[in-house]
């Protein structure tokens, strides 16, 4: 019986063959399944160039470009403007440049800055090099002097160490007037699931001849939240 009239026992298949409604439903089902499969396919990774002036990405868990770049810009600008005021004018009428040794960037934050550290060094060093106030010595010379003397960067303020370090640089043909340290620090305030972290970049300049020092710093405060509304809830301007 079934062999003779297979469709007579299966009204659904009959209707699917003839009924336009069923046919439409099949199409919809097909499209849905196709789109599901397509959505589940693995995609490629893409990249794009961020245009100059475009906003940086804001890190969701840690500080990134959005914090470090403004910190560098502000702190270096402050340092240069302060030093420009104190700059001596040479006999030729031009300001006398001070030789500076940018020792290192110290990270004292609660976050690891990973690959940003070397970039921060280069950014600060480049800005100082571009200025009319300082004449920095090459980082490679600084590294070589530290390597040769086996001195820790944080131990250079000990008079004997400083003397040894400056004499090695002098022997390399790079006598220095100032030592510069950049230090990153952070302070964290926790409020339930939200937290605020204050990032501070301090540039500390020490005169190797007199021991006088000056400091300039820049600060950025950043909030981290578990929900998208956390920022509005915790920093509501109407409160």
């Amino acid at each position: 019986m079934r062999a003779d009239h297979p469709q007579s026992h299966n009204p659904k298949s009959l209707s699917s063959a003839c009924d336009p409604l069923w046919r439409r439903r099949d199409w919809i089902l097909g499209l849905v399944s196709m789109s599901t499969l397509a959505a589940g396919c693995r995609g490629y990774q893409y990249g794009h160039i961020v245009k100059p002036g475009a906003q940086d990405l804001v890190g969701s868990h840690e500080a990134g470009s959005e914090v470090f770049h403004p910190l560098v810009d502000e702190s270096v600008a402050k340092l240069l403007s302060r030093q420009e005021e104190q700059c001596h004018v040479g006999p030729d009428g031009n300001p006398q440049k001070k030789t500076i040794c940018f020792v290192c960037v110290e990270n004292k934050m609660s976050e690891d800055i990973g690959d940003f550290k070397d970039q921060l060094y280069e950014q600060i060093d480049s800005k100082i090099l571009e200025s009319d106030v300082f004449r920095p010595i090459s980082r490679r010379m600084v590294d070589a002097a530290l390597h040769e003397t086996r001195l820790r960067p944080d131990s250079l303020m000990v008079p004997d160490n400083m003397h040894l370090f400056t004499s090695v640089l002098q022997r390399q043909g790079a006598p220095i007037d100032y030592l510069l340290y950049a230090k990153l620090t952070s302070g964290t305030t926790q409020r339930n699931t939200s937290k605020q972290r204050d990032y501070l970049l301090t540039l500390e300049l020490t005169n190797v001849h007199s021991g006088e020092y000056s400091k300039e710093s820049a600060e950025i405060r950043k909030g981290y939240h578990k929900t998208a509304l956390g920022g509005i809830w915790n920093y509501n301007p109407l409160k």
């Binding site: 589940g40 396919c41 693995r42 690891d112 990973g114 550290k117 530290l146 086996r150 820790r152």
Partner: protein, 444 residues
């Protein structure tokens, strides 16, 4: 038999045939592993290359095994290139493919592209760093950052925001990434703060490890090395690492059997009997007869290596964490297969003989399932390290495995050149006390 029945039967046959003849990866790789541990690297390479060509789905894991062989033979650039390929591919495969998952529900997990276990993803980057250190060391720092990123991502995914707790038997991570970063930052003679941060993270993961405390003390108050001295780092790959075998999940099979009975009792469906057990991969770690490695410089015993990467423990913990999901998928697959056979039987309104045939086909279909035993098969049980400060110049290094404090044979000897203020690296393979160790020294 109607054309519809024939069609369905053909579909079932195709499904059955698709699984026939497939041995598991564990069986295919066993010979290569044996050759590797017997020290027959050329034969091992040939065998792995054959597998690489013949089994498309095994390509990434055979590439990883080939990278280990390359590294052992001193072809560090080739090893790095292979590892980079697999790293990028595993990153790509982290996106799920629903089409693949759907197909796997009708066959088994071996049809899925292998995206790597969490511990393998971290270790690929570790091996990349080590391979790079052995020939030029330019990208090693980048790789150490990648290890940390991957490590953090894995920790985040496995345990969420909660910190790893040593008391709760939770996955506590691999300290080697932090150690390598600390080691490289210390070598700059400038970034002692970075080194301190990295060693502190290692100390949190290895609270009872004395050498790490010495490292922390050194980067806090001391220097990388005294003037006129350099540092030798000995990395020892000790023991035979984890591998996957096929295991039968008996409790799940029993539970499914009871579920079958209930469904058959209350509904009109006649399900195929649950005879074939549920097969899942299981991580096993062979016993090791080596505890550590004793190092002597110019015949003066210096000390023993300490573990900074317990790969066996990590593999067991991560596989345990993923086990529930694995079993759930195996059960879902079984249910889908049973439902398919039941639906076909109902649709075709088959007589008892045909029904029996469908049941038999259903049982065979289930029995052909294979556990996905693909894994990086040539890893060591753990990676150990020893730091030695030595005067600049050429030194003779002797390395011998230790078991219960007794130095065993065979001992490996190597000439090493130490550079003033720089690091020199040695990698040694010690699978067991019977196999001759292989030693590799950095060339830059």
């Amino acid at each position: 038999m109607t054309p519809q029945t024939i069609g369905v039967a053909c579909c079932l046959c195709i499904c059955l045939l698709s699984g026939i003849g497939c041995s598991t990866h564990a069986k295919r790789i066993s010979l290569s592993r044996s050759l590797f541990y017997e020290g027959q690297l050329e034969a091992c390479r040939d065998r792995l290359e054959k597998l690489h060509k013949s089994h498309r789905h095994d390509r990434d894991v055979t590439n990883l095994d080939l990278a280990v062989v390359d590294l052992l033979e001193g072809r560090c650039k080739d090893a790095e290139s292979r590892l980079k390929d697999v790293r990028d591919r595993f990153d790509h495969l982290e996106q799920e493919s629903i089409s693949e998952k759907t197909i796997s529900m009708w066959t088994d997990d071996t049809v899925l592209s292998y995206a790597g276990e969490d511990y393998e993803k971290i270790l690929i980057r570790v091996y990349l760093a080590l391979a790079n250190l052995m020939h030029e060391g330019i990208d090693a720092e980048s790789y150490t950052l990648q290890i940390q990123d991957k490590h953090d991502a894995v920790m985040q995914r496995l345990w969420g925001e909660k910190p790893a707790d040593e008391k709760s038997n939770k996955f506590c991570g691999l300290p080697i990434g932090f150690y390598l970063r600390g080691m490289l930052r210390e070598q700059t003679h400038v970034d002692y703060d970075d080194a301190l941060r990295s060693y502190t993270q290692v100390a949190q993961l290895l609270p009872t490890c004395d050498p790490i405390r010495w490292d922390i003390e050194r980067v806090t108050q001391g220097v990388h090395s005294q003037p006129g001295c350099g540092v030798i780092y000995v990395f020892a790959m000790v023991g035979r690492g984890p591998c996957k075998t096929e295991s039968v999940e008996q409790p799940t099979s029993d539970a499914l059997l009871i579920a079958d009975r209930i469904v058959s009792a209350v509904g009109p469906y006649k399900l195929p009997p649950t005879i074939a057990p549920i097969k899942v991969p299981k991580v096993v770690v062979p016993d090791s007869d080596i505890d550590s490695v004793q190092v002597a410089v110019d015949r003066q015993p210096i000390g023993s290596t300490v573990s900074i990467a317990d790969i066996d423990q990590l593999a067991l913990e991560t596989s345990q964490a993923a086990r529930n999901q694995l079993i759930a998928r195996a059960v879902a697959r079984r249910v889908i297969k049973k439902a398919t056979v039941a639906t076909v039987k109902q649709q075709t309104s088959s007589n008892s003989l045909t029904s029996l045939g469908f049941d038999a086909a259903g049982v065979a279909w289930e029995a052909l399932e294979k556990a996905d035993t693909r894994c990086w098969g040539l890893l060591p049980r753990n990676i150990q390290v020893l730091r030695i400060e030595a005067p600049a110049g050429t030194h003779s290094i002797s390395i011998a495995p230790e078991h219960f404090g007794q130095t065993g044979r065979p001992t490996a000897h190597e000439q090493v050149t130490v550079v003033d203020g720089r690091n020199t690296y040695i990698i040694g393979w010690f699978p067991d006390t019977f196999t001759a160790p292989r030693i590799l020294t950095s060339t830059h």
